[in-house]
Amino acid sequence: MTVYAFHGGIHPPENKLQSTLLPVAQANLPSHLIIPVLQHIGMAADPVVKVGDLVLKGQVIAEPVGRISAAIHAPSSGRIIDISQQPVPHASGLEAECIVIETDGAETWCEYEGLEDYTQIPPHKLIDFIRSKGIAGMGGAGFPTDVKLHLGDDHIVNTLIINAAECEPYITADDMLMRTDPEAIIGGIEVIAHLLKPHHILIGIEDNKPEAIAALNRAAEASALQIDIQVVPTKYPSGGERQLIQLLTNIEVPSGKIPADVGIVCQNVGTTAAIYEAVTTGRPLISRIVTLTGDALAQPQNYRTLLGTPFTTLLEQAGVDQQRLSKLIMGGPMMGVPVTSPHIPVIKTTNCIIATTVEEMPAPPPAQACIRCGLCEQACPAQLLPQQLYWFSKGKEFEKARQHNLFDCIECGACAYVCPSNIPLVQYYRFAKSELRNEELEQRRADHARARFEARQERLEREAAEKAEKRKQRAIEAAAAQAARKKAQQQAQAETATENSSAASSNEAEVKALKVAAAVARTKLSKAEKALKSARDKGLDGVDKLEATVAQLSAKADEAQAAYDKSLNANNSSLEIAKSDAKCDANQDNSPDTQAQEQSAEELDMKALKQQVSIMRTKLKKAKASDPESSEIASLESRLAEASATLKAAEDKQIERAAAEGIDLKQLKIDAALAKAAVTKLERAAKAAQNDNERETLEAQLPQKREEADQLAKKLARFE
């Protein structure tokens, strides 16, 4: 298999030999274990124990919360003495929630059971089992392993890459793990491969670990799987996920995407071994190998440490010289975090503690001006322009920095390592990134506030509109009531035409409302009657109920109709009075307003009358059909006659009026109808035209014809 290359990279002095001279030792059991509930990416775990509880080694003390989370287990038996904010290993130096266990020294295990054959249980159950054992990425990031293993659900995993590179100087934890327990690593690979089913399995390891390579080779031969152990040249940062992928497969993970999107899943060797242990023995993740190194120690060495062990325990065991100790770094020298207090605990992602002196890692000289030499650009594995990012970060032009792909920086520190002016480049980039993130957060908050404000405005407007609507309704009702009262007083009191007209117009609105109500009641009645008929025909049950409903509805319909008729008559009479008044006034005042009102009143008159007549007719027909002997029929007939007479009178009046204006209403009606027909005919002909020329000529005639038809229709409308 070929090894490719990634851009840039540096070769800092390795300083790994000193911590591999002695074998892995067992760390002392501290008196107190401080276990943060957040040792991984995602939501902090939720404690399930209380202060005072006695816990056994390996017992669950915090459950995962949400999808991206991990469980926490008691690393040793003892008593919970505190659940509170304690200093935790974080660059900020802030405190976080921790569960503090006072160890009893007995190290009594709880009940645990591994899976006999993990291939026999459903994959999801297996992943849940791994989740319950608290496995998270131990390479440094702490991503919950079960989430990563679920990637096989919706991604096709082509390649599984096991990251055994350990490229940072000083750190040898993975190296010693590979030397001492390679079978666990291969076993873990088999578990992962069973879940993700990759086509290729690669282990990427640097060439400065010959013993580890040999051990892995031996263990891999025993496995049934085809595992390729690929040795890569020692260069920092070849252990970076994206760089390792490029080294082994020459694939670049697109910016903003995860390796699974290109079919690759990466896992650290430590995590792999922990998976194997959890699956086969059932023991959760409660300890890890930590490298203790640095010149301030009597003997650098690797220690198998319980999680939650304070740094002080390890430092004492390694023989730290407090006088010479100048700096304590958690992690490696290139990406590690300087810690101020040694009372912080070891967590799942602590791979190294460097206790250094001033001679070993002197304080860097003050930064000089950037001379744009370009060494940083040559070293950057992400192929960025660090000097430009520096200029923009320094000048606080954060948007330009983002455009130069600031967020693709993996903060490996290679640029700052090579800088001849000793500029703390990574610090500038972290500052710029946090400023940009804060800006984004502010922007999101502002957007959210604006959305809420707009929703509130809308709600207020809506409520105001509803109130106005209600007010209008009440006004209408009040007006209707008033109109009824007025109608009663009409005979007695003399009123002006405008008042009457306005009363009439408000009456009109009321009449319309009543008409609608009557129509609705009728529809309901007809529906119920239909249902009744079908029930009767089919011989279904509940016919009596339906009959009762029908009777009810018909009564209601009659009521509504009566109300409508009454109002109509009232309207008519008020209209008549208004008309007569208007006419009187008209003799003195022929203003178009009154005329128009008169006409519109008459229009309404005509329509209403016509409707009334048709309603009467239908009612009569129905009544006759249902019960020819009913007494109602007589009253209905008389009413019908009345209405018809009124209608005829109105129609005659119309023709008279038209004649007064010199228009033959009948002829006008015929003309309007003809014009309309002509337009329709022309349209049809144009549609069916054989060629474009014909169609165009026909369409050219259309506007004129339409105009004519419109005019006639308008004229006619005045009399309808």
Binding site: V253, P366, A369, R372, E377, Y417, C419
Partner: protein, 345 residues
């Protein structure tokens, strides 16, 4: 001192001063060649330039109320002084060097904010100003050869205007090869070459060019700069001159002369590679170097001056931000090279 809390906690043992010192050391062969072939003048100019350069730098740092030793210890003033010292004629009066250094340090660098902020190469700014303001003093070059003036003679020439023996400048000075080739009238290039004047002095200049080349290659080996700028400059000059020479050998200078006569080698390895004023990315440096080479050819052939390094470099310094905008490297995980200023890919 600000607290350094961020990783990384180790750095490589190189520094800006170290870079500058290497450049100074690499210039020693060239200066030595100049002194051997052209007399003491160069050394005296070097001393003048360096002392006044440091003086002006100290004054500027004091004016800005900054730490003197911190800002003087980065050797950048020394490098600028050396570059200017080899660019002006060896027997130029003392005030030429002083004015030059004043301009270089104060107006070429300090007004912009000191080292790292200057858009132009400070030595070239000074040279261009001197050339335009004092054309006579800046074009009186010394003839190489055995008849060199002694140290005392040169000193009195520089500080007094005339040698102690009363010899005027004319006895010592003559034209440079590029001068001769330029102002040849209707004579063809090969005829100039076969003439006595040019062949007498050409080899001296070629030795100097060789010395600069040696120093430049040493710097390349020490990774003080990458190969992009010098190689692209030389190549572009080579290609252009070869084209024109191939087309019309009588009226155009041959490529080898372009490379060895004049300040081409000095410019390629010591002037064009000044990191502060050149393009940022390696791709940009290629364009930058090629531009300088092309401009050198153009100005030498059709321009007003026999040698064109200074102007070519200054013009490309002007274009460096534009070059930067369009030559950003492709970032890992991104598809294309950013084309526009707003980040369109």
């Amino acid at each position: 001192m600000p607290l350094r809390l961020s990783s990384p906690h180790v750095t490589r043992n190189n520094s800006t001063a170290g870079v500058m010192q290497k450049v100074v050391l690499a210039m020693v062969p060239g200066i030595a060649a100049l002194t051997l072939l052209f007399g003491w003048g160069t050394l005296i100019q070097v001393l003048l330039c360096v002392s006044f350069g440091l003086l002006f730098e100290a004054a500027a740092v004091r004016l800005r109320k900054q730490n003197l030793s911190f800002y003087l210890s980065d050797y950048s003033a020394v490098v600028t002084a050396l570059l200017l010292a080899v660019a002006i004629p060896p027997t130029a009066p003392y005030w030429v060097a002083i004015v030059g250094m004043l301009v270089a340090i104060l107006f070429g660098k300090q007004v912009y904010g000191g080292l790292g902020n200057n858009p132009f190469n400070p030595a070239m700014v000074a040279y261009a100003l001197l050339l335009v303001s004092f054309p006579v003093q800046m074009t009186n070059w010394v003839l190489p050869g055995e008849t060199l003036a002694s140290a005392t003679q040169t000193l009195s020439l520089i500080f007094g205007g005339a040698t102690s023996t009363g010899l005027g400048i004319d006895g010592l000075t003559g034209a440079t090869p590029l001068d001769l080739l330029r102002n040849r009238g209707g004579v063809t290039t090969s005829e100039v070459w076969s003439g006595a004047e040019l062949s007498a002095i050409a080899s001296a200049y070629q030795y100097v060019a060789l010395a600069w080349l040696a120093g430049g290659l040493a710097l390349l080996y020490l990774k003080v700069f990458t190969w992009h700028t010098p190689i692209s400059m030389i190549l572009s000059l080579l290609v252009l001159s070869a084209l024109f020479y191939g087309y019309d050998p009588d009226n155009y200078l041959d490529p080898l002369s372009h490379l060895t006569l004049g300040a081409t080698m000095l410019g390629a390895f010591f002037i064009a590679t000044d990191p502060v004023s050149s393009a940022t990315s390696t791709r940009g440096k290629l364009v930058f170097g090629a531009g300088i080479g092309a401009l050198v050819f153009v100005i030498r052939t059709w321009g007003n001056y026999p040698d064109a390094i200074a102007f070519a470099v200054l013009l490309m310094n002007l274009s460096a931000p534009l070059i930067d905008q369009y030559t950003q490297p492709r970032t890992y995980g991104h598809k294309g090279i950013r084309k526009g200023p707003r980040g369109e890919e």
